[in-house]
Chain length 388, copies 2
DNA sequence: GTGAAGAATGAACACGTTTTCACTTTCCGT
DNA sequence: ACGGAAAGTGAAAACGTGTTCATTCTTCAC
């Protein structure tokens, strides 16, 4: 079996053309990425409806029971003679039957979908959070419905309307600057919405506060440990390379840093404006040391930002980390232990956080009128090689 | 408004306790991560059903039209007097109505959900692909339904059955070693399945080949450029730090490297077994240079692996990159331009790839019986600082 | 053996939409 | 004005399930 590439509609995108004239044995051309479609086309056509799936009706017929019995067999709480349930489940498996969740959602009002709104899946912290979230939700019988919003962390009304059509049971929004009324307009009273970033302390948040479940994170602990460590190594002039301006996470972190530094008699942090990204943090650092006054130590609003700071210091400013400048991050993402960075950082226990979040969500779904619950997680400093 | 932390059920996880006795003004305690729930509770209760959403029925009543007209107003292809459509859409907006997708799916057989199965959302390449995919699908009116499978890239039958319940219109699986028959057993004839890793060239794949849509990627172009560049700098002994053994992506890349090196009269690559991860690549590199014979240049199966290689060389083996050892990766993920690595790598145009994929999917959904289509993308070498 | 309590059962309804199918109205060329 | 085609319209059926409710069957204490 041989084939010539120029028989295909080849899209050539490289900066020099591929060898279109090369004719290789098929076994040597497995530079193919490959996509199967309709893998099941050849399967038996009996016992399936026109749409290709077995229904409860068909299972019932084959098992000589009513359709309702089939429904009950799949609901553990329903009462059904054990032998009958076993028979039904066996036949269901033979016919490869699973209850249709769309139909189930229609009547029960539970889609078992949790909407996740995120500005950027690739962001390290977010991607790790989504990963853990999906695992946890999957274990509880829910599926993650992913939506992207604008990169500036603002909430898009069009997106909310769009998402609403899918009827999520709950929504987790990695989103800033969104008013409860906006959310309420586009989602139903019954849908709990979880804003997954730190609160800003703005008046409207405080007002809404007591009505809602809360997951608190004590930034203070980790920040105190970090500042204490920096002080111990003689750092006095500390800079903060910020996250997105006015975002909840950035405000919370910057404010806490300011409070702790004040308590310890340090001058307020020098603020270098950035946006959580590597590139902006890199540029902000260059600015800080070339145009600005520099610093003994740099706090970055997140780990990725800290990587940008470190690379700017080492590879462009010819400063040593940690000898000349110490660097501390926030999050402790998986990449922080990579040797090139080996970052000292304030850790959030991501898995614990996601477990707590899923716990809150499920509790609220099972009991919508339960009193608001508050859970609090702590932070701690993970000491590696960028302070010392 | 003041509050004391020890009035909360504080979960303390740090390695030293937080200052529970501290009492700060609320505005200074915004170390809270914060979660809103049921933001809409206070909204007006009129014009909503018990479940909290307006229905087509209610819109029809208010607009003095039939319920069918409402349905048609939301379907651009249906014929409806423009004035009427406008009226309905306006009233729908007032009532904050959106068609329920579960009900729509039930009758039309289209859920507008695309299942994405992935072993690890955090993997850089996968997370970037998921991000682009979600954007593209969202633009076409589809939503991404995320599922996690086992980390060894194998396909979990239980997961397939679970996912099937959600009735995805199509499935994109970042998965290895899965037989078409397994997929077919758990998904319907009507659901196109896209395996999103390179083919292995194994007999069963070849057999299935002509029946399916395909998205080819010409590894050859980029690999030839890379090998040519390495040869130009005098590299002769080239090692390959592999991906997961027998995985499609790894096999395709390793085989192509072998073919190209043979064509150019080089000895076969020295194989160092790894699994696409930073840590294993790091360890494999130490092994290669301490126990094994070392190399002039290292090809890594992916960029993250290349980072592990670089860090092992520089920070543990005290070798210089690129002076002592040259390194080339695969993928060109966003992190590859970070200064600490500045990686020379074989680039896949991710956006273009995702666009082509979504194009194939939509075409197949709109016309299930269309003849199989094949698209081919090219690769190219992005030259940065790890070869030279 | 008897009665009552509880478990098991299936018919009918409900969920919110799209699609089909007749029917009515509008439009256009002559 | 006229006929025919096209566009517009709403009643009814369908999608596949969970839930309610009245009925039948089983169990168990006496």
């Amino acid at each position: 079996m041989q084939r010539s590439y120029d028989s295909l509609g080849v899209i050539v995108t490289g900066f020099h053309a591929p060898r279109l004239d090369s004719v290789l044995p098929y076994s040597q051309t497995n530079e193919h990425d490959f996509i199967d479609t309709r893998a099941g086309v050849a399967l038996s056509q009996d016992e399936t409806t026109a749409r290709g799936r077995a229904t409860a009706e068909m299972v019932a017929e084959r098992a000589n029971v009513s359709r309702v019995a089939v429904s009950r067999a799949f609901n553990p709480h329903a009462s059904l003679k054990p032998a009958k349930r076993e028979l039904i489940l066996r036949i269901a498996q033979e016919l490869n039957y699973t209850p249709d969740r769309a139909a189930r959602a229609l009547v029960s009002g539970r889609s078992h979908l949790v909407g996740v709104i995120v500005p950027d899946v690739c962001s390290h912290w977010e991607s790790q959070e989504i990963d853990a979230l999906t695992t946890a939700l999957q274990a509880e019988g829910f599926a993650t419905l992913l939506f992207k919003t604008r990169i500036d962390y603002s909430m898009d009304e069009q997106l909310l309307a769009y998402m609403r059509g899918f009827n999520p049971d709950s929504v987790i929004a990695f989103v800033e600057n969104v008013k409860p009324t906006t959310l309420a307009k586009f989602l139903d009273r019954a849908v709990p919405i979880y804003i997954h970033y730190p609160r800003s302390g703005a008046p409207e948040d405080r007002q809404a506060g007591p009505l809602h479940d809360r997951l608190n994170v004590l930034h203070r602990t980790g920040v105190e440990q970090a500042v204490s460590l920096l002080q111990g190594y003689g750092a006095r002039r500390i800079a903060y390379v910020s996250g997105v301006d006015k975002s909840r996470a950035n405000t919370a972190r910057e404010d806490m840093l300011r409070v702790v530094m004040a308590e310890r008699g340090l001058a307020p942090p020098i603020i270098a404006a950035s946006d959580f990204s590597y590139d902006r943090a890199y540029a902000a650092t260059l600015d800080l040391f070339r145009v600005g006054e520099g610093a003994d130590a740099v706090f970055a609003a997140n780990d990725v930002g800290a990587f940008g700071v470190i690379d700017a210091l080492r590879h462009e400013l010819n400063l040593r980390v940690p000898e000349d400048v110490k660097v501390v991050g926030f999050d402790d993402i998986a990449q922080s232990h990579w040797k090139s960075y080996n970052l000292t950082t304030v850790k959030f226990d991501l898995e614990e956080r996601v477990r707590a979040l899923v716990r809150l969500i499920l509790r609220r779904l099972n009991n919508p009128d339960a009193p608001p619950l508050e859970e609090t997680l702590n932070t701690r400093l993970v000491v590696r090689g960028t302070v010392g």
